[in-house]
Structure formats: C-alpha cells, structure tokens
Amino acid sequence: MKKIEYLNHLKTNLQGLPNEEINDILSDYEEHFQIGISKGKTEEEISHELGDPKEIAAGYKLNLKSNQPSDESTTTTTNDNTKRFLVALLLIIVNVMVLSAPVMALLGILVGLFGMGIGFAFGGLGLLLRLPFVLIGNSPHILTSLGLGFGLGALGLLVLILGAVIVKHLIILIKKYVKWNIELVNR
C-alpha cells in the first residue's frame, strides 16, 4: 500500500472522532512515513510494518471508550492469587518441617512439668495425711514429715502455676503467629 492510500484508509476508519483529532493522528503517521522514507524504506514496507489501518483506528476508538476496560483488574487478581497460593504453600512447608519439631519438644516439656507438679502436690498431701499415724507411733520425725509435706505440696502448686502461666503465654504467641501467617497470605 502506498502512503496516500494507507492514510486514506486510516482516515476513513477514524470517522466518528473529532476532525481535529483525526488530522492530528494522521500527522503522526505522516511523520512516521517521512522518517521511514528518509531512512531508505519504501512506502509499501512502511505500510506493511505499521499494520492494518482498520486495527489501528480501532485502537484509537478504544482509547475513547472509557480509558481502560476491566481487563487490567483481572490480570492483577490472577497475579495476586498466584502469589497468594505460593506464599500459602511456603508457609505450610515451613510450619510442618521447621516448626513441628520444636513445638513437639515444648509440648513434651510442658506435659513433664505438669506431671511433676501433680506428683509433688500429691506427694506432699500424702505425707500430711500420714501425719496422724506418725503421731501415734511417737516418731521423732514429726517436724520432718510436716515440713516435707508442706514443702512438697507448695512446690507442686508452684510448678503447676508456672505451667499454667507458660501455657497462657504460649497461646497468645500461637495466636499472634497464626494471625501473622494469615496476613502474609493476604498481603
């Protein structure tokens, strides 16, 4: 296609836009042809490289119809979803592989702690309950039994309280961690 022919085609397909704008658009292509020719290209070559004037005109008319249709928002959401999926997957793997061992260990320690607390407390209680028999037997170890009973009982209670405090803080920590995970995925 010759330059004149190409520009005429373009002009025909641009009908519907303001005349001023059509002339402005045509001048852009005129400039393009001019420079191309000065660089040694033929008018036919340039027309071919520019592409179908009908499609180009459609591009200008699309500009006019609300600057951009919804296609851009859909690309970003698919993009976000891909990212979200990858982050979630990564988190699951980290949580299972890296965190499970220390969490299990901590759980074991806590169970041990509670066992110890309960053991001490009942041990102390048992010693105190034995007291009447000790008195009857007139044993010289009354004070020892009394002290040991109270001491053991108190120690048991202390350990149990310590365990409860640790559990409380652990729950807060876990809540925070889960929240952070969710935020990371939704970001």
Binding site: Y29, H32, I35, E49, G51, I56, T82
Partner: protein, 105 residues
C-alpha cells in the same frame, strides 16, 4: 500472541524507554520492534492515550533532515505508573516462571 497481553507489555516497553530519555515516535517504534514482534502502528494510539492520561507530554523539535519531529517526554505521573507496572510485571513473571519450572517453593 494474545492481543490484550501484548498491549499491556507494549505499554511497559514504551514507558520504560521514555523513562530513560525523550523519543520521537519513529525512534520509539524502531527500538521496540527491534526486540518485540509488533504491528508498529499500534504504538501511536498508545502514545495518544498516555498523553490524555497525563503520562507523557509532547513537543516539537527541529530535525536536520525534513520537518520538525514530535517528541514524547515522560511526566512524574508517567514515572509512577511505570514503577507500578514494572513491579506488577516482575511479580507476574516470577509467578509464571515458578509454575513453568515446577518450582513451587
């Protein structure tokens, strides 16, 4: 290649070049079509839209050969749009590449 996809990529290419220096239309078309297979005529509608959106401004400058040329210059608004598009593009490409290469971690 999908037209909508190509259009988005073309926007990114044009903004990227203009972010470095001012170009006249022909030069811009030449640079891009050297690397990407496009219908060269589609760049001009894009440039016009960029101008109406305030991403670029234009001015005429004399050339040694022939009539003055229309130069395109990126605005601050255009630079912001470019940075945003670039980030979107990079994270998109990362995501796609992860899937293509089967690296799901």
């Amino acid at each position: 290649m999908n037209i909508q996809f190509k259009k988005g990529v073309l926007e990114l290419c044009v903004l990227s070049l203009l972010d470095r220096k001012d170009f006249y239309g022909y030069e811009l078309v030449e640079k891009i079509s050297k690397f990407v297979n496009i219908s060269e005529g589609t760049i001009y509608p894009l440039l016009r839209r960029f101008r109406s959106e305030g991403y670029v401004t234009t001015y005429l400058e004399e050339s040694q050969e022939g009539p003055p040329r229309k130069y395109y210059s990126i605005t601050n608004q255009g630079k912001e749009a470019y940075e945003k598009l670039k980030l979107e593009w990079e994270s998109f490409i990362d995501g796609v590449n992860n899937i293509l290469r089967g690296e799901l971690i």
